[in-house]
Symmetry: D2
Subunit: 342 residues, 4 copies
């Protein structure tokens, strides 16, 4: 059994980790921290965990956490980079679900996140935890940077094209839509149901922090500069991301076969039959990405539809997939649920 | 492994059975029928089942179904009573998720369901599948009548009071609210999102078919006539039932202790701490009933709050709980999921 | 033109007042205050008011406000009672949409609202602004206490019965459901869409502040003590209240005729045909209460269904109806909108 | 007063026309037809119209309709083209809210709508009812083709750029999202709340009927061929369209000023301040289009955000705007409502 701790368990990513870890056959959940809720039983705050999780929230304490084999950080940006070095030194492995170790360039990190990086030396070592491109490095990693939700949906949808050199990487468009759980569980007028229910809007069009992350991932797959327009939107629902991706084709290929081949052995990427329109509910609560490709009217613009659950394949599920790889388990352990639909 | 068939798999109860059975460790799913979808892969209609269920829908055929150890009927009312006799004769056990075998009195059945009963002789044999009152009979049953969703939530909330003789059973009120999935998956203008979204209403106040069923269950627990006012309402959400139950107390007792004692050994009924307000999302997708009790201002009216997922403890989950009992399995087999929250 | 000011315009009640007053033919909107937003254009915060309201939020200032003929308070409880005396002395009339002047008994107010009342002398003068019972007093009032949302829906549904002496007033039940806008527009984790979307729960079952208010209103109509069990619930939608009211009949009458007669001349109460089930969307955005009555199976328990929009007939619309009465206008002025449905 | 008839009043476009016409100061509503509901009071089917519309649905009858000055067709595609000639001959003017007269090329119409056109001669005469490009022609028209919902939102967002020759019209992208009311009010499993609630998907990516309509409108404004990729999506909400439009810039200009100047005198197009993100609820129930423009990171891809209510500026509201123009009324008559927000 892997001894696991969670730092920052009071948010949606934290409770999703708990939901999945509570039934994971190889995990012994040892500690879950939350400054604001320390001392309270987890199941008092998350009614859904009654009967499944007996722990109380504790204060974050590196000493206690270092008794774990693995610690997940489900904290705000800027937290993991301060605590990770001590844990790693103690031999505890770390998966950060926030952004601290995602961008390899510390200057870029500071530009987009507004603070200097606290441990630049670890940036080089950290492995970007997208198993579909970094599976082997993840197996060997001490420190994994779990990808963002939009970057997961967008990169998985565009990678086959970009890797094959079939897309004009200077004019990509990612029109993404997310459920409100992506904004986290903090007191915020803008996320009240009275504000976001029965309405729809774009946000952060001038620039969103996931933009450099998507560019970085696509950049690894091409020699060319990546020009990407990324527009996130807020959906009046709780879970799910839908990325609608537009790429201008620069060559010919059997695109359906290209995608199917690329993901043939991936347990958590499902390329749907030609002509499909995946719906976000088909991945609700599961660690799955479903992709469908289109070439409307046979023109030179390709449309890729890519859906995930932002809290699962876009956060906690992918983190557990990474844990499974890091500890030599079946990659699918604890992740065999069927989506809740309807 | 139990060989299982499903008749009528094209509705919400059917897909919920499939979701739960697909990961049940002791089930071998053999057949799923749907007249309208015969020949099509199940996963073509239910995208969420891609990778989990490989079957195609087939025409209902008693011969093929009788090769199963157990057949679930997830059909409209009036179907199971026509096919059950042949299956039972062939040694196949039956759980009917519709209403055909719920009411013991065939005249009452005809009054509320508008057709004569097709096999009255089986009514006496059929066991009402509420494990919290009939566990031992279910273990031995060939034919189980799976309870309705409102009756499950209402009866579990009222039974401790009624069994203890502490409620005026002549003036009970069950004010119940259900998500739209309770209305099934059929083309119906009244269930369009444009009609039921962002709105709320009562329906069937003059009389709903679950009224005699609730009365029957409560009647088994008391010698007195049961007078119950039952008002169902339609919630602008998909899953979940909340029963708000009102009873006039006729005696004194430690009510919290009464409920906790009554359900102490029940794996799927959770009596919450005094003062709680259970929320439907805490049972979303799981076979669980959560109950909280109140006695506002210390008056003589008791309020019981009881929540279930109408498709799970209110239908498919309870059916699998019954299957587990009928086949000598751990009652919780395949039913250990954690609710999807948020 | 009536010169109107609004104190506390930054919440949902405030913006609803603005929506309705912006097209009211007899209103000249002079000032709208909000401490937190002072200096900002109203239409910057409420995009829907672009092109309709040109005012900026200002600091609350009794001097400036006393230049108005009428000031609405859309403030938290406890604010109006501090500012109203100065305004009234200056000849400005006041409608308080909060609870400060609703309860006639200052001890009861202190018990439920947790603070001593700041101007008990005005409690006697204040008129409870439910036109259906106090129309003439409202016409002459300087100070109107606009009713709460639940009390409006509940009282209108029960009054005909109670006034006629046909109900057992010792055992009334009001099972009420409200959209989330009733909780206001303040940063509150419990009202995030991630928390309240796709879920349903009761709250405040031990005691809600609207309980003594409903009891007071019904008490005015009967000589007997009023025993009422009131359970509010939170709906996963934005606007609308549905009160399901249960009363034991103590006499016989043509109940449909009783209700129709009682409200025959009321412009904003609609008694629907026998057998109806009003839906909240039918009153969305309008100053209307729709009522339907039922007597299930001819028993002795009567069920009244009563729907309003909590922000309109339950708050801002009713306040404008009161304003119309106070200033001798057509009671329906500015309130002739048709509900937005779907 | 203009004598008005509506053919096909049983759908969402019909009830929205009724909502707006019921309070229009210059309209005398004479007839509303619905084959399926003939004889029933309109307010029996649309509870929201109780007290506002006293008409009963009637059978469609050209004789009776020709007594009207104007007839709106809120019918399925293919209906108006059969009845319009007789009405026009009788001197009755016609506004078709369906697609019959939108495409000027009958071959294109047949290709996309799957039936030959019934009155090609009227195609040339019909005026495309987008006042922002055809105001003067609409004033003089006998027959107006009311634009589609997606075409209205998309064209208004792109026209200033295309007219100014600043966009590469060969690579435009319109990523559009619509509430479910756009699919109409007919029995359809795919539009059940259980299917579309809490989920999101694209549809008709291979080709949607509004594609040729958008291309035609943009084509009128440019000499170049219009290459447009159009992807519609279905939102889990009732009303509202959000078009996210992508264009590659081919020249430099002050884009904010360009848009503000283009729409300076338009009563129903609101260009928001630079940096804005319009939300669909800000136009809920009103005849308004709000637009914001962005040029992320100063690159060569421009992003235009354009929102309307699909039933109002996208259908019934625009039809009434056209009626006002055709009959010499103030263009804003009956259309001064404030959006319902929250």
């Amino acid at each position: 059994m892997i001894k696991v701790g969670i730092v920052g368990g009071g948010g949606y990513t934290g409770v999703e980790l708990l939901r999945l870890l509570a039934t994971h056959p190889e995990v012994d959940l040892r500690a879950i921290t939350s400054r604001s809720e320390a001392g309270r039983p987890v199941s008092e705050i998350y009614e859904s965990l009654r009967g499944h999780v007996d722990l109380c929230f504790s204060e974050p304490d590196a000493g206690a956490l270092s008794a774990c084999d693995l610690v997940f950080f489900a904290t705000p940006n800027g937290t993991a980079m301060k605590m990770a070095p001590e844990l790693l030194d103690a031999g505890t492995r770390v998966i950060d679900l926030a952004a601290d170790f995602r961008l390899k360039d510390p200057a870029l990190w500071e530009q987009w996140y507004g603070m200097p990086h606290a441990c630049e030396d670890l940036l080089a070592e950290a492995v970007y935890g997208l198993p579909e491109i970094n599976r082997e490095q993840i197996r060997a990693a001490r420190l994994v940077a779990n990808p963002g939700c939009y970057p997961t949906a967008s990169a998985l949808g565009l990678l086959p094209l970009v890797e094959a050199g079939l897309a004009d990487t200077g004019s990509l468009v990612a029109d993404c839509k997310s459920g409100v759980s992506g904004a986290g569980r903090s007191a915020n007028v803008a996320m009240l149901m009275g504000e976001v229910g029965e309405s729809f809007k774009a946000y952060a069009v001038p620039g969103h922090r996931h933009l450099p992350e998507i560019r970085q991932t696509l950049g690894w797959a091409t020699e060319q500069a990546v020009g990407l327009t990324f527009v996130p939107h807020l959906l009046p629902m709780i879970r799910g991301i839908h990325a609608t991706l537009y790429a201008r084709l620069t060559g010919e290929a059997d695109l359906q076969a290209l995608f199917e081949t690329r993901y043939r052995d991936e347990p958590f990427v499902d390329v749907m039959p030609a002509g499909s329109h995946p719906e976000t509910r088909s991945v609700r609560g599961v660690n799955q990405c479903r992709i469908a490709i289109h070439r409307p009217q046979g023109g030179d613009t390709m449309v890729v539809l890519s859906v995930i659950d932002n809290l699962t394949k876009g956060a906690a599920g992918q983190a557990i997939q990474n844990m499974n790889l890091m500890f030599g388990l079946d990659e699918r352990a604890g992740l065999r649920q069927v989506a809740l639909s309807p």
